[in-house]
Symmetry: C2
Subunit: 163 residues, 2 copies
Amino acid sequence: MRTPVSKPAVNHTATHVDDSTLREALGYHMKRSFNHVQADLTRVLKPFELRMLTYTALVLITDNPGLRQSQLAAAMDIERPNLVVIIDELERRDLILRERVPTDRRAYALQPTLAGRQLYEHALKAVRAHEAQLTQGIDEQTRATVIAVLRGIEKRLAGGEAP
Amino acid sequence: MRTPVSKPAVNHTATHVDDSTLREALGYHMKRSFNHVQADLTRVLKPFELRMLTYTALVLITDNPGLRQSQLAAAMDIERPNLVVIIDELERRDLILRERVPTDRRAYALQPTLAGRQLYEHALKAVRAHEAQLTQGIDEQTRATVIAVLRGIEKRLAGGEAP
DNA sequence: TATTGTTATACTCTATAACTATA
DNA sequence: TATAGTTATAGAGTATAACAATA
């Protein structure tokens, strides 16, 4: 989507730019590869009219019915105000419900609807196919190592600077 | 910056949310870890009044003096229009120069100024220290594997869907 | 006083179409 | 006609402050 399918006959633009200084940094590669993964996943989710964030929210609500918005925001690692529009969108499409919690009338218990659970199933299948294509040729051991490193970095940075 | 330094005594928000469905996907972990890396790097670059994109542009221009904007945009994997404001900002701060190319008066040759080269040196040192802290405890072999996987994914998705 | 959800707001990054001036 | 840089614009993600209702 970002690069032309066939390269131009004469290419003045991509000739030998030295990025060796940047390539040292893990974050540089994380950014570049994630941008492509993000764009690709957006394309995969488009037929379901879902984005990465609405998909993530739908999955977590379906797997954790009764979840509260504050819990969901924490799980998704986003701020509460940013979750509101996501939940609004899913609710407007009748994929989830906001149910009042009797014991705490400030909070909502988020519940998937039947339509929500069905969309979850279909979208999940597409995402898994996408994931399989993405990690094709990467052995399970290596994939697990990459995930472990990414999670380790996340935990280190999430926990605050000084241990 | 995102999570409090000390967790609240009673925590209703983070209790046992099942994200096992999402955790299968590599992209999920890429997003989460990159968000933290991005936020952390933003903090590291703040004293230099640089962002990830202005830093990247400054490094590439300094390492490749005379680079054209179209080449730089391709190297940074961003669209040309988005590069303009980045170059504007660096030029306004007298960190780089737009020099007309005599042989092609449509194009600019981007050159770092002395101030740009100096800021490059200082920022690079800070970024390297950040990187060292980030990858602390990860052996070189593993780090190389992660980078290779990320680059492989980027290349696969950048090249178009059908090989 | 603290928390849940909310509104409003701002900044960053990304993407596309269309323009200008050159080639 | 094609390319380099530009302008304008739109969409998405992220972050903070401040509010009403409730605890």
